[in-house]
């Protein structure tokens, strides 16, 4: 907030245009690369943000999809383009951090290859079970699993499997991870009674409201806004969490003015009412308002946390 005020004052003094971005202007349309395919939630959200940024700044934004490896393909290309603020990339932390942790030599970039501009949202990850499951929390699930000789738990991303391994290691629960393609598929298996519990990032909320599933724990570092009474995995005695953030980055070495101007444009776009609604609908959470420094710190902390997940 403070930076914004100072900048605004500076801008008024310099140009009198009343825009905070007067110190830096793009030399043409700015590209926003999306690390996922067209039509998905990330894509929709990225396009909306680009549109809002265009409205508030008057700059042209062009959105391009660069799917592959959960964003790895996009970031690989992003680090190779000139750091002039004309190309930005939107991705999600987990696939990047996981790959940087387990195969750092094969990934052609590291955290320092980028300048971080802003977070977009935090995906809220929950552990759910069928409404009629004979347990209500993690301890209950662990007990049930021991009794049954291994409860089946559906997941759709590596860190979730690691979280289960962690729980197994600490409690000898013997949870059996079942790999699924998406939150939707994991949810379907819970509803069909094919697994005993599942990780889910949002798709479960309507089912929760309808009373078809119940929530066992929040897998994030904090509780979820829609279920304030459900404790986190950490609170339930397992010192571990998974925090997948969506964020926007640019190639490292961005001029300071460009960085500030862009970060501010993103921040403003996120705070627009219809962006909030879209984020609420797609990710069931508020937009996340971390600026460049906080975003960088979030990624660095995230890398340490993922390292812990892998026991490194």
């Amino acid at each position: 907030m403070k930076i914004r005020t100072i900048l605004a004052a500076a801008a008024l003094a310099v140009a009198g245009a009343g825009s905070a971005m007067a110190e830096w202007a793009p030399s043409g349309p700015i590209k926003l690369w999306i690390g996922f395919g067209a039509g998905g939630e990330t894509d929709t959200l990225g396009r909306l943000i680009a549109q809002k940024m265009g409205e508030s700044t008057g700059w042209d934004f062009v959105v391009e999809n660069k799917p592959g490896g959960g964003g790895i393909a996009m970031f690989t290309q992003l680090q190779a383009v000139p750091a002039d603020g004309m190309t930005l990339g939107m991705g999600v932390t987990m696939p990047v951090l996981v790959n940087l942790t387990i195969r750092p030599d094969e990934i052609p970039f590291n955290l320092d290859s980028f300048d971080y501009l802003h977070t977009v949202a935090l995906a809220q990850l929950a552990i759910i079970a069928p409404a009629d499951a004979p347990f209500d929390d993690l301890a209950g699930l662990v007990e049930y699993s021991k009794e049954k000789g291994g409860a089946l738990v559906a997941f759709d991303a590596k860190p979730q499997e690691l979280l289960m391994n962690f729980v197994n290691g600490q409690s000898e629960a013997g949870l059996k991870p079942v790999s699924t393609k998406s939150s939707a598929e994991a949810l379907q298996q819970v509803l069909g009674g094919h697994v005993d519990a599942a990780f889910n990032a949002g798709a479960h909320i309507p089912q929760l409201e309808a009373g078809k599933v119940k929530m066992i724990a929040s897998a994030n570092a904090v509780r979820h806004s829609y279920a304030p009474d459900t404790a986190t995995v950490q609170e339930q005695g397992f010192d571990i969490y998974v925090d997948p953030y969506f964020y926007i980055a640019a190639p490292a070495g961005l001029p300071a003015e460009a960085k500030t101007a862009l970060a501010e444009a993103i921040g403003q776009a996120l705070m627009a009412e219809d962006t909030k609604t879209a984020i609420m609908n797609a990710f069931h959470t508020e937009p996340s308002d971390k600026g460049p420094d906080e975003t960088k710190k979030m990624l660095e902390d995230g890398l340490v946390n993922v390292g812990m997940l892998f026991g490194k």
Binding site: K31, V62, E64, R103
Partner: protein, 131 residues
């Protein structure tokens, strides 16, 4: 037809270099490729011993297809280098020339009108970028 058997051996050789070993689980990343490799060896040998089915290779046509494929590949490279709007008409022109079309209205339609209308439709009207 020993090609298939050769391919299978190759797979068994490539596999270790391009997969990662995991400790847990029933299906490792190698399980299915290995099964495929073994199946290919078996089937390839079978086919080598008992050749069956039709083989229709038309040398001249194959050569022409290879030429068309090479031109297309050059087109892909060119688009990355110079952009769609410049390369697409050249690519179309080359292909039209390969076919040997001589009626100029059709030539114009194929090499100028079509690429330009695609370009007007996609990046200009729909706002989706092309190379």
């Amino acid at each position: 037809m020993a090609v298939a058997a050769f391919g299978a051996a190759l797979i068994l050789w490539i596999m270790p270099a391009h997969t990662e070993t995991v400790s847990s689980g029933w299906i490792t990343p190698q399980t299915l490729p290995r099964a495929c490799g073994i199946a290919l060896i078996g089937l390839g040998l079978w086919l080598a011993v008992f050749p069956g089915g039709k083989v229709e290779i038309d040398g001249k046509e194959a050569a022409l297809c290879a030429l068309v494929a090479a031109v297309s590949a050059a087109g892909v490279w060119g688009m990355g280098r110079f952009g769609f709007l410049f390369v697409a008409p050249v690519l179309a022109a080359t292909l039209v020339a390969i076919i040997g079309e001589r009626r100029w209205p059709w030539i114009v339609a194929g090499i100028a009108a079509a690429p330009v209308s695609i370009w007007l439709l996609v990046p200009v009207l729909l706002g989706r970028p092309l190379p």
